[in-house]
């Protein structure tokens, strides 16, 4: 297997992009990544998209996006793993370059969520749960994470305030991110008094509905200098795992087994452990998700994520900064794009190009992306060579 580097990154602003279409935001991100990489061609591309069909009535993205990027007959592949679609695209591109099949591969994610009503978006997102035995009874995604939150609070004594602190911390980071959908700070009181969505979760515990696209260009490590003079970023670890689609089928509702397994695989490939990671971008689709992920990835012991967050350990100036980009909560969550947008943030930080968000220590990064209530997850580790 060849070593693989990320040589280019690009993303659109995240938000309600009413004047733009799915194809236009994707092409914008792809062109930005190719320009950043210094390449004027690609051998193939992957695009993660959860539901072009339900959000804009468009499938066959491999063809349409190749067409609108002006690269036909280059092969394009659309992949789906709910909210983890973007990082599946990233992993497949990594595998294609590592295997020697291709040299220059564009990996990307896109979701155009605001062309449908809130009800239709809720329905589209709910398809990531078990439609026949969860959705049938009226559960929603916030509802599934709310049930995880209640179980976590009962088992470990995690508090409502600690959950709120996740959103407050991520908004403080996102306030410094020019791409963020909600680039402003919020307070614990605002979270605790916001509208109820699915008890005990409130609207400010939830990531928003977002339009956006993100892309990266990969190439073999030994060819980087032909294209780019920027810091060389190597993909040192990749892990991917599944779990039951229904939350109720899990042995332990408070732990995310797919995240744990994907993390262990990525750590093993990179030859490192959680203590060697300088910072991480994780899938905070709901505040409770970030807490469970910190435990599954071994950053803290089970039950310690709430106190660690409350003590500021996950803040930008803390012991292990989590979601310096603002996370899905503040930056926005265009579901298929989020996994690749995490990679964009990791690379900006590792290059020292993150502006006001720049972390002091950024040599090795971890990105964790997740589908559904934890039914699929991917973990990638990137490091400065």
């Amino acid at each position: 297997m060849r070593d693989v580097a990320v040589i280019g990154i690009g993303m659109t602003n995240f938000g309600e992009l009413w004047e733009q279409s799915l194809r236009s935001i994707w092409v914008e991100a792809a062109l930005a990544a190719m320009k950043d990489a210094g390449v004027d061609y690609i051998d193939s591309f992957y695009v993660g998209c959860m539901s072009g069909g339900l959000f804009v009535g468009q499938e066959h993205l491999g063809s349409m996006l190749a067409d609108y990027l002006g690269v036909c007959p280059v092969p394009g592949t659309r992949v789906e793993s709910a909210c983890a679609s973007g990082s599946v695209a990233f992993r497949l591109g990594f595998m294609e370059v590592a295997s020697g099949m291709s040299d220059i591969v564009l990996v990307s994610g896109v979701e155009k969520m605001t062309d449908v009503s809130g009800d239709e978006a809720t329905y589209a997102l709910a398809t990531a749960a078990d439609q026949e035995y969860e959705g049938f009874h009226g559960i929603t995604f916030p509802g599934l994470y709310a049930m995880i939150a209640r179980a976590h609070m009962a088992k470990f004594g995690t508090t409502r305030k600690q959950l709120a602190q996740v959103a407050v911390k991520n908004h403080a980071n996102g306030a410094l991110n020019p791409h963020a959908q909600y680039p402003f700070s919020i307070t614990v009181d605002e979270v605790l008094n916001s509208v109820k969505v699915a008890e005990p979760l409130r609207i400010l515990d939830c990531s928003p509905i977002t339009d956006g696209a993100a892309a990266a260009v990969l190439c073999p490590l030994d060819r980087v200098k032909e294209f780019s003079q920027k810091s060389v970023i190597r993909i040192s670890g990749s892990g991917h795992a599944s779990d039951t689609i229904a939350l109720h089928s899990r042995k332990d509702i408070t732990s995310l087994a797919a995240v744990e397994v994907a993390g262990k695989k990525a750590y093993a490939m990179a030859g490192v452990g959680p203590k060697d990671i300088d910072f991480a971008e994780v899938h905070d689709c709901f505040t409770i998700a970030e807490l469970c992920i910190l435990e599954a990835l071994g950053f803290v012991e089970p039950g310690q994520s709430g106190p660690a967050t409350e003590q500021g350990k996950t803040a930008r100036d803390g012991a292990f900064p989590i979601n310096p980009s603002g996370g899905l909560k503040s930056k926005g969550h265009p579901v298929g794009a989020s996994g690749v947008a995490q990679i964009v943030e990791c690379v900006e930080q590792l290059r020292g190009e993150a502006g006001k968000r720049q972390l002091k220590k950024a040599r090795r990064a971890l990105a964790q992306n997740m589908g559904g209530s934890g039914g699929s997850s991917l973990v990638h580790i990137l490091e400065v060579v």
Binding site: T122, M147, A151, A198, E199
Partner: protein
């Protein structure tokens, strides 16, 4: 939701039928073709107990469109007396009378209805004992 889609699930939704693995004994609800514990493909039909306790729950304030007229409603992961876990609404509850461990009984109820003349889907809801 199409008629065949509702109709083909009636054994498990109406009668709580499950598949019990004849090799390792794990009960699968809904039934499936292969056991995820022992890989056996031999099952016998059993009926899930209607006595259950609440494992965790939430109260939905922003529901999917077909549940709009029921909101806010409570929904829970319950564990039946025979150790099986699944998701059910808790009937006639706004959540304030629920705790983890609350005893419930599964009862045959209307679950959802599509549009004004739409198909009515039935199944089970949990009810506080």
């Amino acid at each position: 939701m199409s008629v065949p889609r509702i109709w083909r699930e009636t054994p498990q939704r109406y009668r709580l039928e499950a598949g019990k693995c004849t090799k390792c004994g794990k009960v699968h609800y809904p039934p499936r073709l292969i056991c995820d514990v022992c890989r056996s493909q031999d099952f016998e039909k059993v009926t899930v107990s209607d006595e259950a306790t609440i494992v965790t729950f939430t109260v939905i304030h922003t529901p999917p469109s077909q549940f709009k007229d029921q909101a806010p409603y409570a929904i829970a992961v319950v564990e039946t007396k025979d150790g099986l876990r699944s998701t059910f609404q808790v009937a006639d509850s706004d959540g304030s009378d629920l705790e983890i461990g609350t005893k419930v009984r599964l009862q045959f109820r209307m679950i959802q209805q599509e549009g004004e003349a739409g198909v009515i889907a039935y199944g089970h809801k949990a009810s506080i004992v």
